[in-house]
């Protein structure tokens, strides 16, 4: 029982740090991209009144973003930051899965796997094939 408690405490610390550093890294990247974007486009006019629906798979999107970020395009660097932000809770779940496996808590291994499956579902069915 005592070692169980100790392990719970370690997991809390690791997940807490993961969330914290994940958010700060993501924000730093987004802020950098924002400055570059502002520097290049400050006098352009905004036009966000009309929504243009897109239909890009996340894999194509990640590829485009990485290519754009490599060419130091401001909006792609912001998007890279946003993608890192999305990755933080996903990493948190993957870490929980490993932690529950190590604790041999198979009920919660199943529950965590189900949540991961739902997120995967939204990745694959969020765009028209």
């Amino acid at each position: 029982m005592q070692s169980d408690k100790l392990r719970d405490r370690d997991i809390q610390l690791i997940i807490g740090n993961l969330l914290r550093y994940g958010v700060w890294t993501a924000l730093a990247v987004a802020a950098l991209g924002g400055l570059i974007y502002l520097f290049n486009h400050e006098q352009e006019l905004v036009h966000y009144g009309n929504f243009v629906e897109k239909d890009v798979s996340i894999f194509a999107l990640v590829e485009q973003t990485l290519k754009g970020a490599a060419r130091v395009k401001g909006d792609d660097i912001i998007l890279l930051g946003i993608l890192l932000l999305f990755l933080t809770p996903i990493l948190r779940i993957l870490f929980s899965l490993i932690a529950f496996l190590l604790e041999k808590d198979f009920l919660y291994v199943g529950i965590t796997a189900l949540v991961i499956a739902i997120i995967c579902f939204s990745v694959f069915f969020g765009f028209a094939h």
């Binding site: 969330l19 400050e42 897109k54 239909d55 909006d75 809770p89 579902f121 969020g126």
Partner: protein, 277 residues
């Protein structure tokens, strides 16, 4: 409006939204949406995309501290995330087919409900006996206090789970954290102590929002140039708000802000109903 002016106004507005959101406990995302749509004329789809991104940032940021302190019930959070993520995926898919006026009106009513709920007096629960299902799921736990850990039980798992599904759906449909509904599910239905329910709700928001954000991303709701000032502003405002909260319990301020928020919500309902949004 030029990009520079737009970004600066948005940054300032997002700071205020984050500040008011943290003082009232409503969250900054829910306040930034009327600002974007009603004041700046941004399409509601971009507004909910940006709000959802700011929800992920603020909730992960503050969840980090609570998790380290051991107040968050991670098993409870994980179990209820089944309901919230499933609801969020459904909500996000619904958002892409629902007419914008419907989204605006539903948003207005949700905002009024959350604002009124934030003024309600909270009663502290601590049940000793848990239901058999709660025991089977290992949901009862303890939370630390200055005078040692306090044990708490859990009831009505099915009811709380269903309410969480609704909270997740609203989150995916409207781009909000829907903390008010999550706390109702845990507080009023499952009878979990207030401290645990608020921190666990915060902990769950990141994962719930990510489930729908992935859909938003692929459908083009997430416009980087809008998200950047919104996320940074909301986070700065929320951090300032948290500092003020520690020093004082601004009860009068909360009533004042709740009235303003209800005004914003009525404005959105009107604009949605006449088809301006």
């Amino acid at each position: 409006m030029t990009v520079l002016t737009f970004t600066l106004i948005l940054l300032l507005g997002a700071c205020c939204a984050g500040f008011v959101g943290s003082l009232t406990g409503l969250g900054g995302g829910v306040i930034i949406i009327p600002l974007l749509t009603v004041v700046l004329g941004v399409d509601i789809h971009y507004a909910i995309g940006a709000a959802l991104v700011s929800v992920i940032a603020t909730s992960s940021g503050s969840a980090a501290a609570y998790v380290r302190e051991g107040i968050t019930n991670m098993r409870l959070g994980m179990f209820l995330e089944i309901a919230t993520t499933a609801g969020a995926v459904g909500g996000a898919l619904l958002a892409s087919v629902a007419p914008t006026s419907f989204i605006a009106v539903l948003f207005g009513f949700t905002l009024i409900f959350s604002a009124l709920n934030s003024l309600r007096k909270k009663e502290e629960h601590n049940v000793k006996n848990s239901s058999p299902l709660a025991l089977a799921l290992k949901l009862p736990s303890t939370y630390p206090t200055p005078s040692g850990p306090i044990a708490y039980g859990t009831k009505n798992v099915v009811g709380g789970f269903s309410m969480m599904g609704l909270a997740g759906m609203l989150s995916g449909l409207l781009g909000i954290g829907s903390g008010a509904f999550k706390v109702i599910a845990m507080d009023n239905i499952m009878r979990i102590p207030f401290k645990v329910s608020t921190t666990t709700s915060n902990f769950m928001m990141g994962v719930t929002a990510t489930a729908s954000a992935v859909i938003y991303l692929q459908k083009g709701y997430i416009e980087p140039d809008i998200c950047m000032p919104v996320v940074i502003g909301v986070l700065l405002g929320a951090m300032t708000g948290a500092k003020v909260l520690v020093r004082a319990n601004p009860k009068k301020l909360r009533v004042f802000f709740a009235i303003i928020i209800i005004g914003l919500a009525l404005n959105m309902i009107y604009n949605g109903a006449v088809g301006n949004i």
